[in-house]
Symmetry: C2
Subunit: 198 residues, 2 copies
């Protein structure tokens, strides 16, 4: 297998790329060798060498502790618990949260045999001790069965610490049309209705 075939074969293992799109991507890179292929090769090289998992929160960054944990402008009293780094990125893009994060690295799943000891739960508990500044833990796991189970489990584990445990609101997505929403979301939105501020 020559280098081109190797590149195609490896690209086709990325999510969202199949053999056909991997070939197209490889050809595109070959045609932009200096402008795209070399920079990507260099960026990947540097990323492989420099990527670290933050020992505090589980975030992926080029230094440990990560830039979220070391940012002095962030609010130490709030920790937002997410399943994966991608969820942290999604919340960061909103710019709506300025506290710290904690990445579980997955969810509890009886089906996949994932128990509490497989997730970063002990390190979360160690961050909410009585001598810590944390006042609120926001559980932002996905609204899947496993995500909900994990949130309930964490609520119980966090009860002893005395911090307030909150959950993201359920409801109609912004721009969402009622007619296209599933019944569960619609019931949740109705149940969580609130008075209009005047």
């Amino acid at each position: 297998m020559n280098e081109i075939e190797q590149v195609i074969q490896l690209l086709s293992r990325l999510p969202g790329l199949g053999p056909r799109s991997a070939r197209r991507a490889a050809l595109h890179m070959i045609q932009k060798r200096e402008g795209l292929m070399r920079p990507l090769a260099d960026a990947l090289d540097r990323a492989v060498e420099n990527i670290r998992i933050c020992a505090t929160c589980g975030n992926i960054d080029t230094h440990d502790p990560c830039s979220v944990c070391t940012d002095p402008k962030r609010d130490d009293t709030q920790i937002c618990v997410v399943e994966q780094v991608g969820d942290l990125w999604a919340l960061e893009r909103t710019g709506a949260f300025r506290g710290r994060f904690h990445i579980l690295g997955g969810v509890l799943s009886a089906l996949d045999g994932i128990g509490p000891e497989d997730l970063n739960i002990e390190s979360l508990l160690s961050r909410v001790g009585p001598d810590q500044p944390v006042k609120e833990v926001i559980l932002a796991t996905n609204l899947t069965v496993d995500g909900q189970t994990t949130a309930h489990y964490l609520t119980e584990r966090l009860a002893a610490s005395g911090v307030s445990v909150t959950r993201l609101a359920h409801g109609v997505p912004v721009g969402g049309e009622l007619d296209y929403l599933d019944d569960g979301t619609l019931s949740a939105a109705l149940k969580a209705r609130h008075a209009l501020e005047s």
Copy 2:
């Protein structure tokens, strides 16, 4: 911009990947750092260094002349002319053609200002001289307006060389349903109908 952001930004410039899928691909690689990210970085490094354009046919390979041009088992009497390297790959996957190739590097296009001097046409003509073994040139440009124009132009330019110039058959794709075919393909298939061999 740190290394992770650089990787995402470069990945998002590949065809078929947008910002969201580039993030997913980057996260996937980070989670498979040794199994996927490092091999891809290495393969890209080697590809950038070793990729050559074949001076004979315009193919992309890791040596010049390319493996198609140097393969002694291939038929020297046939040259298949294609627009892009991707077309060569597509034909090679069929295994139905065992002659040589010639890559034009594009098609004539008045709209994009691409004339004969921008394509590998002179090098094609130099391969079909009277002292050469080539007996047939198969024009396998796309069935677009520009592809057809280019095929007509090449037919004229090749006339003097005395080689027979052929074109891929038009017709109903294998597995294609008549009801879903465009009129042009259907007319072409009808016009090119042939007697059943018994």
